[in-house]
Symmetry: D2
Subunit: 286 residues, 4 copies
Amino acid sequence: MCIVRSFGIIGGDKRQIYLARSLSDQGYSVLATGFERAGDTVSCSIDEAIGRSDAVIFPLPCVADDKSVNAPFADNKIFLTDSVTDELCKRLVFAGMSGRLISAYPKLKSARIYDYAARDDFAVRNAVPTAEGALELAMREYDGAVFGSRSLVTGFGRIGKFLARRLQSLGSEVTVCARKASDLAFIESMGCHAVSFADFKTAHDYDLIFNTVPALIFDRALLDNTDRTALLIDLASLPGGIDLEYARGLGMNAHRALGLPGKCAPKSAGEIIKKTVLSIIEEVNR
Amino acid sequence: MCIVRSFGIIGGDKRQIYLARSLSDQGYSVLATGFERAGDTVSCSIDEAIGRSDAVIFPLPCVADDKSVNAPFADNKIFLTDSVTDELCKRLVFAGMSGRLISAYPKLKSARIYDYAARDDFAVRNAVPTAEGALELAMREYDGAVFGSRSLVTGFGRIGKFLARRLQSLGSEVTVCARKASDLAFIESMGCHAVSFADFKTAHDYDLIFNTVPALIFDRALLDNTDRTALLIDLASLPGGIDLEYARGLGMNAHRALGLPGKCAPKSAGEIIKKTVLSIIEEVNR
Amino acid sequence: MCIVRSFGIIGGDKRQIYLARSLSDQGYSVLATGFERAGDTVSCSIDEAIGRSDAVIFPLPCVADDKSVNAPFADNKIFLTDSVTDELCKRLVFAGMSGRLISAYPKLKSARIYDYAARDDFAVRNAVPTAEGALELAMREYDGAVFGSRSLVTGFGRIGKFLARRLQSLGSEVTVCARKASDLAFIESMGCHAVSFADFKTAHDYDLIFNTVPALIFDRALLDNTDRTALLIDLASLPGGIDLEYARGLGMNAHRALGLPGKCAPKSAGEIIKKTVLSIIEEVNR
Amino acid sequence: MCIVRSFGIIGGDKRQIYLARSLSDQGYSVLATGFERAGDTVSCSIDEAIGRSDAVIFPLPCVADDKSVNAPFADNKIFLTDSVTDELCKRLVFAGMSGRLISAYPKLKSARIYDYAARDDFAVRNAVPTAEGALELAMREYDGAVFGSRSLVTGFGRIGKFLARRLQSLGSEVTVCARKASDLAFIESMGCHAVSFADFKTAHDYDLIFNTVPALIFDRALLDNTDRTALLIDLASLPGGIDLEYARGLGMNAHRALGLPGKCAPKSAGEIIKKTVLSIIEEVNR
């Protein structure tokens, strides 16, 4: 049984500031390090933040290529000393993309490290601020209203599902492109139009196009058959699914949008990290 | 390449009548047999219905235990003669639960039979009239309005998803019970309350309870910890997930609801058979 | 300042039973009379029910033509004696269609009687169970699912608004017929189709038709130009807005649906009476 | 009977460019003047634009204080000569805030001028892009997601209605403040929380606050009782309903947002002008 009453927050951006605040609001004792430049967030030394905490949370991603902790608000780069890694091995450690942490500090192989960002529930929850961020971007870049627009979402994973629902609820006429017959049936049963990738050779009459598939869907051939007036937003992780350069060459308004939860809704993103970390602790104790 | 211009409809209930009508409206030539008592539906002989058609559709389920075709509107029982099965082997045949057809008429092993009811897209599409039928039953049996009610859905498969969304859109405060952490995250991200089956020992403060899980969820222990005023509706296939007898013994209003698409919305159910059959033909020709 | 701690409930149907229960759950002392045949509802004498209460609630409608209180669950007819009316004059009295009560018992002219059923907020709240009841009826009578149907609502008052929204959220393609240009603009801005009554001469391609206008909209001429397969539901107060007899003569499935909150959702209807009565008391005390 | 086949568009911003395009797409002949700097929009002389058109459309607002037509994309200021006003008197003229046009050019008193911006249906339709623009601003300025937020809308007119619905459909917990009992009942019947202005003395626990009432609602006393972390957006026409200066002095993030349709969704705003103008022509011909 792991009783966690206190958390050390080691670096990170606004998400971790909100994470710290939310944990504190929920009654946990919280010590943060690496936020010297973040205004009203109190920072202590890393030794204190770890030494006085039952569990430690690193950001997403946890470390940079030079092995420093990802801490944009820190006065100085944060590296983990041997005494710090020794202390970490005695605690529950949470990190986003934890593999990088272990590569950088091999001693941590023996630590109990949980990668919150690798979990499905984390990805599901982040699909909500991602869908909202995509909506915000579309609202900013598109000269019309979402209401009355015609939109296309390629891919029907988590983000595709939440995004299609939001577009629909704001009054857009939504088409979703998917592969599986059961997904196509689900899409139609939601009240959207469904198009099979097998039949997807042209993209006409859409005002807003969102790609969520991490494979080159909008290649040159398809872009040649897409209306120039469509707004293109690529939400897929790199290398993405839209040939943005070619699209811009055609005069299209095309955007890559990555890391939206952290950029558009760091408060929610921080609360999602909190929920995931607390779920992991609960599962560990089950 | 299978070009299908004409369909023979062999028996079935109102679903197949609507199927015939919908195919005909779409321009197909349709011949039906086994609808003598169905009022304004024109019936011909089975030989004609099969002999003059490119494809033949049997109902869901296709045959009864006595090998007769499931044809409640027929004047007489319909059995397949050898000449009929020979003809069927030359055509595309569609049937619901086609295994029963082949068991009853082993000669059909060599026929090209497609079981539309076994497909995922068929099940997904039928989840919509199932959810509506459950809603209709709840509206009829519950003394309050769905708006302002508190409802519980156990299980987050197709039916659970569509039902939860409908309850929510009508203004019920919805809780969904599921097993996987990612499903629980999805449920919360839809704006519903999520409860893990691991923590599900009592069911208090719900007005409407719908079970969709085909395993005994509401056993005696749980029913003893469920409010007596709750309306219970079991949507799970037999043997179901609610101990209905015990629930009724406790004075609860408890219902089993099976085959809702055919009972509550045969027109939609028939159109879903049509869509599935046409999808299969399209895939065959791809 | 009227401090009301106890209510006397004088007759009524299931709505008043739920009203009594809901007041009691909220901490009020409640005495009911006229529910002898209502199973588990405790009835006392009318003298006691009035004598020991700060306020008294009559049902909707409050009295019948023979001056007896509307009390379908009473063992005997309830008439108000002089001593009862004297007592009523000392209390806050709430009644639905209170004019009838005063006509029947003119002494009550000097009582402080509030007609909860005459208030706009009461009518607005009842539009929700009315819309749900209409939906339930449509689901029962229509062979298809609401999802994927095409529906028409004539009139854009309270009921029209709530009904159109519900049909839309269940996946029907909704058209609303209204008179004012601003209403037509609102309807389109909700994502429905709008038709002006000025242009409304035919009603083709609708599966479900709901009338909410208390004027003869669907007269013979219009019914002659309405598809025979449409389901017709008249929600308008008498004499209604559909020539039901003529419609049935044409072979159409046509229904008058009145008093839906009381019939379909007496629990909600009772809670709405409670909310309205409590609002009136609050306003009186302001 | 006024048959209008051609329109002259005299100045305006992006809205009028989209108006011109949309009229042209619908088959009307369109001549525009005052868009020399607008890139790909073809401009002709004002004499030609008026002389060869059946109807003429001025922007919203139509003229500036110096009597020049509101034409931000024009190379030179546009004033109406006597010969132009003479021609206008022979045509249907549409203008936003047409009173200013007549004040500036009194000869036009005898012209048939219709003020599209004064109509209720115009205001209703514009409430949609206004609500979307408010949402976009909130998404940009708020560090959390709308999903899971708690929002407050003061006022339940057109904009309040559309905005509350959108916030709700994106998963915010919405409270609406209104005056009338029937509006409060409607708000609750939509599934939102209702607060009466009579009881509205504090605004705690809201993340997002939108004012739509053109009267000083958020005065110093109320702002002193509003959480400092709330985002404040004032949508009410000048002088507005939030003491923005005082709010900012308290360290709050407070915004005035006016003219949102033109700023955030000029395409929709132009199409709304088109719809309103065509409705007026239809009514004129009825």
